[in-house]
Symmetry: none
Subunit: 139 residues, 4 copies
């Protein structure tokens, strides 16, 4: 087409490869998951809810991915800083209910540049984190 278009930071092919690797890990540990991939602008690129995964985790997974883009960090690295005694206590109240400060959100990095993020939710924090890591490693 001749009219100008937006250039994606991450392709759907990338996003699906990330999600498929995450699904494979989730199946390996026997924990159904919600899995979301956002682009560098924090906008949803792809999402799946595995069978019997939590409905409430749709938003948590998307928000974990969003948080990883919003602060260019893994969500697990926000946990200690936002506890009641931490430097950033209150951060999760200061952004309209979109910030998640426990494990499961990881930036997707290519050639030293953050191009998107993955968020995983439904399992324990260890399960969410390992599934997110498997996804992130597949970019």
């Amino acid at each position: 087409m001749s009219n100008p278009k937006i250039q994606d930071t991450i392709t759907l092919e990338d996003a699906r490869r990330v999600i498929d690797a995450a699904i494979a890990r989730a199946e390996e540990i026997g924990q159904p998951q919600d899995i979301a991939v956002v682009d560098a602008g924090g906008n949803l690129k792809a999402h799946v809810r595995m069978d019997t995964a939590n409905i409430g985790s749709i938003h948590i997974a998307i928000n974990k991915a969003y948080t990883s883009i919003a602060f260019q960090t893994q969500t697990k690295d926000l946990t200690e800083a936002t506890r009641p005694t931490g430097d950033l206590y209150g951060l999760n109240d200061a952004h309209g209910g979109r910030i998640v400060v426990f494990p499961g959100g990881i930036p997707l990095v290519r050639d030293g540049v953050i191009v998107g993020a993955i968020g995983v939710s439904t399992g324990s924090i260890e399960e969410d984190q390992t599934v997110a890591e498997a996804g992130a490693a597949a970019l």
Copy 2:
């Protein structure tokens, strides 16, 4: 597992088959699309944003699918009724900004029962509708 689990109305395998059929039709007509599938509870089951499709259409696609479940109807069948002269004028203002009243949302039906819905957005209303129809037919 021994603990009770929610029974999904639509499997991820179903949702992905629906989405892949919709993608195939979108590619055929040369129009990148946002495509969402929700379950019978109106909750997101899977979503893809094809490359260069609209960011703004993420929500519109999800809300088209939601509207199809919410009112057990194709979104195109709400258009005339909600115009300023229609019987349901104001419906789209009456549900917290989630109702879409133009084409692109279609219930997914199996054995005479609505088990989910597909929503498609980015193209013209004719393009959104034909892609949604291709997806719905693949259930």
Copy 3:
């Protein structure tokens, strides 16, 4: 720094040049304006409210820029389609109150790629549009 960073689609230098050109045009026509620039992800890059411009137009300007990115279009091109008799009637109710369908929002294009958008609000639609055009031309 060695840790990965997000790559901006539009620099602050770009955004300020766009805003300064818009301010110059606003002064030329004697109409104070709210002016916002967002990046390709729809996230605010820079904003100014000229003296005596509308407080209510802060959000309208930001949302005009957002809408231009969200649908990869000038906001003025949504007007007819979303009127009560239009194909997309109801679009502005279907996205959580962020869609603006009257003039003043324009995509910022570089080398055939949309890299951001400008939104202008406070004046008449003609005044908003001419100021947005002056800003967009300065990219």
Copy 4:
């Protein structure tokens, strides 16, 4: 013009001078920042997101500035009072997600009167505070 107009508490020229001083300090310490200035009514007057600064910090910076006006205080002076053992525990939940209780928000004072506020976010709390202080000193 003959029709009545709102009188701004802070001019755009003031706001940009404050922001430029903040940018200079941010560059000095090598930490890209989101920087927002609001007027005495808590409404955004100007904002910049420096290149590679956080998307999530757009809202945090604006909300830090808002909080400084809202409670006529530096945000750092709310930290201890709002911790779980403090007198104002829960304050950050009591205002629709707009209150920030860690450093980086400072009122802008002229002739003994608060005329606006600056908010800074992306860096550590020490970095945010020093950049906000540099901005506030430039009023």
